[in-house]
Amino acid sequence: MKVPLSLKIAIGIIASLLVFAFILPNFAPYDPRRWATVPGDEPPSLTYPFGTTTVGQDLFWLSSYALRNSIILGILTASISVTIAFLLGSFAGFVRGSVSRNALTLLIDSFCLIPGLPVLIVLAYSWRKFLSPVLIALILSIFGWAWPSRSVRSLILSLRERSFTYTSLLSGFGMMRIFFYEYLPYIIRWLAVSFLGLLNWAIGMETTIAVFGLSTLEEATIGSIIYWALQYQSILRGVWWWVTFPILLLAILIVTLYELSKIISEFTGVK
């Protein structure tokens, strides 16, 4: 089957971003986080492709390092949230007894209606001394699981009504076997789309929290770069590149991940 062009472009961009984020930092001539390693406020030039920050960090190496942390954080959040959503959502889809199913559904729905940002900020604030990408991922997962579990629950409920579920029961397959043989292809598609969606959400949320001053202390993430840029009034002082490059990197990453998830859902669209 012909791989659509848009898929090739999306994978190309993501691959280059991953190279930039995971391979490049190993060649950094110095520790990008340390201050005053390069002259400050240098506009983008050949020696400093992304320019330098006011506190003397080389933005090119710093952003590659930060992108790596942001992606790791995103992947961590996405995997924790998707796992919780998968367990909780499919349990809500499978549970007998209408009372327990309604209760679980209402809980999931109410969680989707709670504004995540203020809760995460209060939580991040109280743990701000220990904030690390891993901890931020855990904090974000408190809200990450809500939306995907809603969609997997309705997916499973609709699958359970399909006639082939009854055919499988009649053929002697137990619920477990039905889940893994009959439902898995549908669930995998949900998994891929939700994971990419959560990855975007997590990276966006981490940047939002960081901008509020709750970003990691020693580890750098895209959010923390933007936070320090704002703290040092970089925009008003005309040091525009300090904010522009991290934003650009993040925007490209997120838009391409979204394209990828769009293509996946169309490509594996069933009936």
Binding site: N102, R162, Y166, T167, L170, G172, Y181
Partner: protein, 325 residues
């Protein structure tokens, strides 16, 4: 061991609508059925929305009834232990309406065939494939045609035959067929209906669920007419369909378009059933609003099944003495 193969006593299943489903309406309302131990084809006929499919799922043990019980060879179908469940699955199978929904569009069709064979007889792959070949041959297909293909690579008729083959693999005593031919081309229906007749000769009983009275007459020994979740008339097929005791059965048979009935079909005035939900909630006989000979008694009290010859009719006009209106 009771002398009945399958016995359903006063089955009722409510579906809620309204606040947390508080206002209930009985999709299946106090239905009793018996399948004796000798092979026979019982038809459950009624219009779409009269509760036939819900009743089928209750009999198959997929849905628990709110009232009443279903016994298979004396054992309660909804309270079976593991081993008994396997026995029940082996003896009672089902065929569904839409062939393309019966099989998972993403999986190969033969997975179901071999899965059933292995589960039912613990057969190793060689024995399983001989059994599969046997049943496929019976339904007029060869294993070559079926192996490795997904549902969308077959026509509706072929898929339905594979579904029948899958059911036969379990060597069932009873097959519940829910509208098995309504999605099949008219000219191909006969092949499948003839297959049911041949299977009955070989000892398999059927519960044939349909809205099409002509096919019901063609294959069934006994027929039960259902209206809004209630059985209004049950008895031998030719007795019920040709003499029609219950007013609803009369209206059904008279409205059936058939070659040669043109003048009669165009003349007689019949008033149509009303709005479904409202009629389910009526305390008395649910056909009272439309029935030409309905009375106050019909509206208030639910008529029991009166015995008239070897037909049972739920209509007050048959109370006490036997008399044909």
């Amino acid at each position: 061991m009771s002398e009945f193969l399958l016995e359903a006593k006063n089955i009722a299943k409510f579906f809620g609508y309204g606040f947390l489903g508080r206002t209930k309406f009985p999709a299946v309302d106090n239905v009793s059925l018996t399948m004796e131990d000798f092979p026979k084809i019982l038809t459950i006929a009624g219009e779409s929305g009269c509760g036939k499919t819900t009743l089928a799922r209750v009999l198959l043990g997929f849905i628990k009834p709110d009232r009443g019980i279903v016994l298979y060879k004396g054992r309660n179908v909804h309270k079976l232990k593991r081993k008994e469940k396997k026995f029940f699955r082996k003896e009672v199978q089902a065929i569904f309406q839409d062939p393309y929904e019966t099989f998972n569009p993403l999986r190969r069709v033969d997975a179901y065939l071999f899965g059933t064979a292995k589960y039912m007889f613990g057969a190793n792959s060689k024995e399983a494939s001989t059994r599969v070949e046997e049943v496929l041959e019976f339904v007029g297909l060869s294993i070559k045609e079926v192996m490795g293909k997904k549902p969308k690579e077959f026509s509706g008729g072929q898929l339905q035959r594979i579904s029948i083959a899958r059911a036969l693999l379990a060597e069932p005593r009873l097959i519940i067929a829910d509208e098995p031919v309504s999605m099949i081309d008219v000219s191909l229906r006969m092949n499948i209906l003839n297959m049911f007749k041949d299977l009955r000769e070989r000892g398999v009983s059927f519960i044939y669920i349909t809205h099409d009275l002509a096919t019901a007459y063609y294959i069934s020994d006994e027929i039960a007419i259902m209206y809004r979740g209630m059985i209004v008339e049950v008895g031998p097929a030719s007795e019920v369909l040709l003499n029609q005791y219950h007013p609803y059965t009369k209206a059904l048979v008279r409205s059936l378009p058939e070659p040669g009935k043109k003048d009669e079909w165009l003349k007689e005035k019949v008033n149509p059933p009303g709005i479904e939900i409202k009629e389910f909630l009526v305390p008395g006989c649910k056909y009272a609003d439309i029935c030409p000979n309905s009375s106050d008694k019909c509206r208030k009290e639910r008529p029991p099944l009166f015995k008239v010859g070897n037909v049972k009719v739920a209509c007050w006009i048959y109370q006490g003495q036997f008399q044909r209106p």
